[in-house]
Symmetry: D3
Subunit: 328 residues, 6 copies
């Protein structure tokens, strides 16, 4: 939306995601809806009065539905806030035919199917039978949601398939570094990397319009992940023995690093320290990668990145600096 370079009121038509609707009451007692719509580039709110077709439609459809809207561009209290003249649904066929999805939602730059296959390969490479079975059990149960979930609603890997992408990347980091740290148990570390963020599959909800779910607010992904792993360990064939389960649970509970960042316990095993550091490594580098993708070549700096507390320099190191060097 940021890129809509116009200011004067004029008719428009767009295909957009319906994000959510909030009921408000006007001073005269009549209800109206504040509707949020968006696409990959941003979002805006619009007001729909009780007697309009838009009011009727948005009162009924689910969040994340793709809609076609027509109207006039207007502003209210300084924000873009159009008046709708026509709203309508889109059939799945129309969505596919127009290849609308990639225009509406940012997705992981890597191919989701290949990432999923790599995830399977990594699971199969776990030497410890119980850990392998437990990990498989988790993804058999919750893989559907995991596959499309973002890794965050902001910060790093905050896009469709982002959780899958981040998880595979952390496992790659772990596998690359395991030879350097022989005191770390490989099966436990790899299973830990695959499951460390698994609770996010439940913490966020809405395939096309991700936000924190109620259970996500009440328990957080750390505890949810612990519960998912624990249940899978019991159902797995063979089930995971209690001693090893305790270690696996500890990795999930401690991977956030610090209590104030949401860890339920501080990492107290070599594998837990190792996984927390692999996670942190890819989270930070993921912010770098996303900034590089999103910054135009003509700019020397990215937008400010809150997770790194800087504007990243995005020109490659070999390139000549764009301004003359300082005199001293």
């Amino acid at each position: 939306m940021k890129a809509w370079p116009t200011a004067e009121p004029r008719p428009f038509a767009a295909v957009l995601l319906f994000l959510r609707a909030i009921v408000r009451k006007a001073r005269n007692g009549n209800e109206f809806l504040v509707v949020e719509l968006g696409d990959k580039s941003g979002m805006f709110s619009a007001t729909c009065f009780q007697d309009s077709a838009a009011f009727a439609l948005f009162s009924e459809i689910a969040e994340g539905t793709i809609v076609r809207v027509e109207g006039t561009t207007e502003r209210y209290q300084g924000k873009f806030s159009p008046r709708f003249t026509s709203v309508g649904l889109f059939s799945e066929g129309e969505v596919a035919a127009g290849n609308w999805l990639p225009k509406l939602i940012e997705a992981a730059p890597e191919d989701a199917t290949k990432l999923w296959d790599e995830l399977q390969e990594i699971i199969n490479s776990i030497a410890h039978e119980g850990l392998r079975a437990t990990t498989k059990q988790v993804f058999d149960t919750i893989g559907e949601r995991f596959r499309v979930a973002p890794a965050a609603t902001a910060m790093h890997h905050a896009y469709r398939h982002g959780l899958l992408e981040h998880t595979v990347h952390v496992a790659r980091v772990a596998r690359a570094l395991l030879p350097l740290y022989p005191e770390v148990d490989p099966s436990l570390a790899v299973a830990g990397t695959l499951l460390h963020d698994i609770g996010k599959a439940i913490e966020y909800e809405g395939e096309l319009a991700a936000k924190k779910s109620r259970i996500g607010i009440l328990q957080g992904h750390v505890v949810l992940g612990y519960r998912i792993a624990r249940q899978a360990a019991m159902k797995a064939k063979p089930a995971l023995d209690a001693a090893m389960l305790e270690r696996l649970e500890h990795i999930i509970l401690s991977h956030q690093g610090e209590l104030e960042w949401g860890a339920a316990a501080l990492a107290a095993t070599p594998e837990a320290v190792f996984v927390a550091m692999c996670d942190n490594f890819d989270a930070k580098m993921g912010m770098v990668q996303q900034a590089l993708r999103n910054t135009p070549d003509t700019q020397e700096f990215s937008d400010f990145l809150p997770g790194l507390k800087v504007s990243l320099i995005t020109t490659p190191p070999g390139a000549p600096p764009t301004a003359e060097p300082p005199p001293a």
Copy 2:
């Protein structure tokens, strides 16, 4: 010293490192020395009065000298504080003959010569000519001090050769992970890992009894390392071009991660983020490794580790827990 299992006053003889001597004035105006001596396992203070042979000796010799002392075990103000009956120096031959050094000083578990060779190999692998020449120039100038310096006076790799060991380890981490992050320039990242802590070769002084030097207190290793790299870049053949030097300097200035941890700038290039994370990774895992080495097999937990804020569980994950599982 912690391991000296005795309490009653009795004669003793020991070979020890002279750490330092502080002049104090007694109430009657006479000066006396508070002398610190130690070995690998700890240290203690002793008081030497003005008219003693010990006072004369410790007033003259350099910190880090190896001495032989005899005396009686006593305590003063609750600390072990012996009275010396005889003190003397050790010839270098005697030190070598008795193989005293490894008993007195903790050293990196890996062989220093092999680590040094690996460092050379890593330098030679740097593709960018100016970065390779600059890195070579640094170690040609300051390699002697670098080779024996600790990486810290506490926390991680705080032992003889520790700086060499930590530096090689961080470079190993970087080389293992570079294939996963193609946006990171390999030459710059590897040169950055080799030089990130180079200022510590000057920040600490005293080969056998490391402490912060005056210049270390006045400027800190971050600025000192920046200065060393800058001078080397100018003397190197070929000299490093200004654009690339700026990037290399930034890695050194930002590798501490946060301003309050001593960074002079926040990491703002892909390579600076990458090197700071590699450093952090090996620093944390180095604490794990040291705890595993120093904890007896009969104990389930290490001593409390301030850098990780926990007592690490040092029994391997496969081992049965030493206590029964909780009822729930």
Copy 3:
């Protein structure tokens, strides 16, 4: 131990709790034990060499065993560190006959049996059938350990039965305040107060010598309590419905108040805010009560209380100040 007003070495005999033994290796390679013994007033360490009877005994007995020791008072490195001439066990009969327990361990000032009965009464008063059955189920399973556990290893209610006492006190606070806050569901709030700290029954171990258990370090009492409540809710008759269980779990996960104090989630229901505040109220007032009990009448201030960051004024408000008022 603080109260042992003597300094000169002399024979002694005492009945003490064996707290723990750590194996250390002397410089000559021989093992020795560092043994911790204590009673209600404090603790000390003693060194036992490999060939002594004390070494043999303390290598075998469990932590928390009551022992009779004889020896000579000595000091090592400034701490009281006796040499044992004789050590022996105590039969349960001897312990009972000498009424040793209250001399060795601080216990809740209120009678444990009456507190337990009050706990039962509070459980029975829960109107919601599922919450009542779940709470009952928890205490049927884990009541034994809960009954003797401390509420902390330091700070508030850090003594035998302290967890029971604190839990009943928090429930009393909740019941006194429920009439003032009608928006809070009474059944959920009362069940929440009874279960909020239930994980501490597992987080600490050792009936007479409490310390954090391995599972306590790996998961923490917040997650352990969540697990205990979840299992009980499923086994309870009737089982607790999912919607209410979610609310109960949330109270346990959020009762610590802030993430950095160990909460796994921030309180986001009226009942969770209410229980967290009731808990905080009694924790602080428990520190006040303990300081009032432990400060002699002749003193105007208690020792410094880290939990309140002050020395409490322990003279009653009506009493005349012990020093004249300031001139202004």
Copy 4:
């Protein structure tokens, strides 16, 4: 204002509170006024030029005056910023006839007269004569302002009569809990709860449009409350003795809990700890109550509450969750 569901410029007429006017100078040197007007639902700014009737009126009337305005809805720099065609005052009779006050200002949900009567009853229940007389003296002097003041300009009880409501609520909490903590002096604790926030009657000014007063900025409500209590204690019949006054003053000075939250001293008496906790309890629960009142039934979560750092779940615990439970 949030609820004014319109965007297009059109005529309007409204009865509003005049909040304040700031004089600004245009680039051409002419002065103009930025006027703030509002009602219970929000506020907006409007610009009045030097030669307009609005400029003349708003230059003269006091903040908090009720006005009738007519004009056209417009926007300036993204904010609603109407042009006035007519402005006028309202007589007190017109305000009363139209029952305008409750439409313009949020007030405590409980009846102010009943709260005031309850306050009197609580004062009369104080057993200690000097404390009772001092408390009475305070409210005789400053009761008028106290009765209508808000308890805050944001956060908890931030509305007309909010200070009275919060004060009575804290006293209710104290009276409910005093039987549980016999070490707390009831007279001192109750007087302390009634007077803890008394300085807010002066810290805020403007009956209808509360903001911090100059003296509020210069001294803060903690010191102002201390001064009010001190003066009242001297004028009371009988006057309060110095020892008890010191305790009462300490409660006021320490009730904010932590220095960084504005406490002038840390609570160091049982009564000061007790009152600080009662205050904290009702402050947090007051935020819960306000969120429950202001959140429509159709919404599962309240707006984000900065004081609790969450969006509160406002559906009752018995209600079925609005979305299906997670699969795991």
Copy 5:
């Protein structure tokens, strides 16, 4: 810009500073520019489409160029966002003739030439030959940039010549206080005050539109100042001896006071503590002075000042308070 008291679209013409242009891509693939223009009173953004004259002009001219624009006032997304009908450059002669500079840029209230003369006088007063020569050398090299640079982009002395003004003020403070602290070396302290912020001459770039330069982001003014001083000390005649240079460098590296405020080392010499405090003194008082200048006489309080965390009371102490005193 804040002072443009109008809302309706209408033609305008203005002389403004071109601050910067960012290239964006519209959804249809066409590029457009977001252009920032401003004067002393504020700034705004405007959108220029690919086929416009404005697009052509702003793609080519340097940041900080003075331009004349004509167009219609409009708004986009709530911000003032005009459409340009005509844009053009200004000759230097026209700028001078119209005396445009002081209308466009805020400058230090003191006369820059007099400040510069005073700076020279202070340099000449440095008794120590090497320090005097080094200081002279610095300003000979970098004086041009130093003279016009701001002392900050926000907070204190954030205007043209602000760095010069702040530097002279800090030296005045030092000279006034040196007689009170005889343990402080006057030459070193005065040289330190003159050079403490010298790195800001490079950290910021753009004479008329200051922002952080690339090297400013990569290294920060503390390290840049250290480098400038070090190079000057070597080129100075006589060159500064190593011992004194070390002290001077330390003052620059430590003057920010705390690591988290950007200091590379903590002040560890009497002169470093002294200079850091002089700097802090004038920084805070500079905020006071700027607030007093910018607040109209008719207002009792300044705008909120983030650096002081308050709204300053700007009426003089002798003046009667604008509202009646509180009753108590």
Copy 6:
């Protein structure tokens, strides 16, 4: 006491300050005293049993009494803890004859009488009649205690007459800087510096053995100073007008700078910012001065200074560094 260079038990005799006695109960029920005695160089504790002469004496005499003790040097729990064979009082004549005071208590290095005279001169220089009279009134009332009080119990100016010395120093700083900041009212600023810490005269008690008084703990020196100034302003002839008193009170309430450092309000007038900075300036420089006095010439660094977070380099800048410069 640190300087007592001996460890073996032996007879001793000393003249010491009696600091305080705490009653403890031994396990057998008998009371004993823990007595604290000290001199300028430190302090120690000794145990006195119920039937001893020392017990009798120390139960009766006031804290701060000078005593003569004889006994044997012993240690208990690692601390110097002598057994007394004889204790006795000292007549005032004996104290004066032996000139004991300066040996027992550290005092301000400047002459107290001269400082006091300078204080009077500064008071007389205040131009504003009401402020001058108020300041005079304060010192007429409380000058006795003020004159001997320390400025702190740790950190800066923590010695007899330290409050007088610090106060005069801060006033000197203010008077030296007032010409540079004409927007600061001189009378108000000077009166503010003289009174900013006046509450410390009451916050600490005990002329020879300073510690926080009860009222100091309950209210803190900021509020106590406010009260003293307020009472004096009313009694002064002429009394201070309300508008100016409000400004003076604000300086006292805000001089600590930050709420977490104990300020009751944040500085919000030019004079309050000015005084807070003058105070901070001299506090930091006072730590520097004390470190320079207390560090022997043979040492390059002072002990670690918590208030500055460093060991200060105490050799003058001109002196050659004691170690060779680093190679780079």
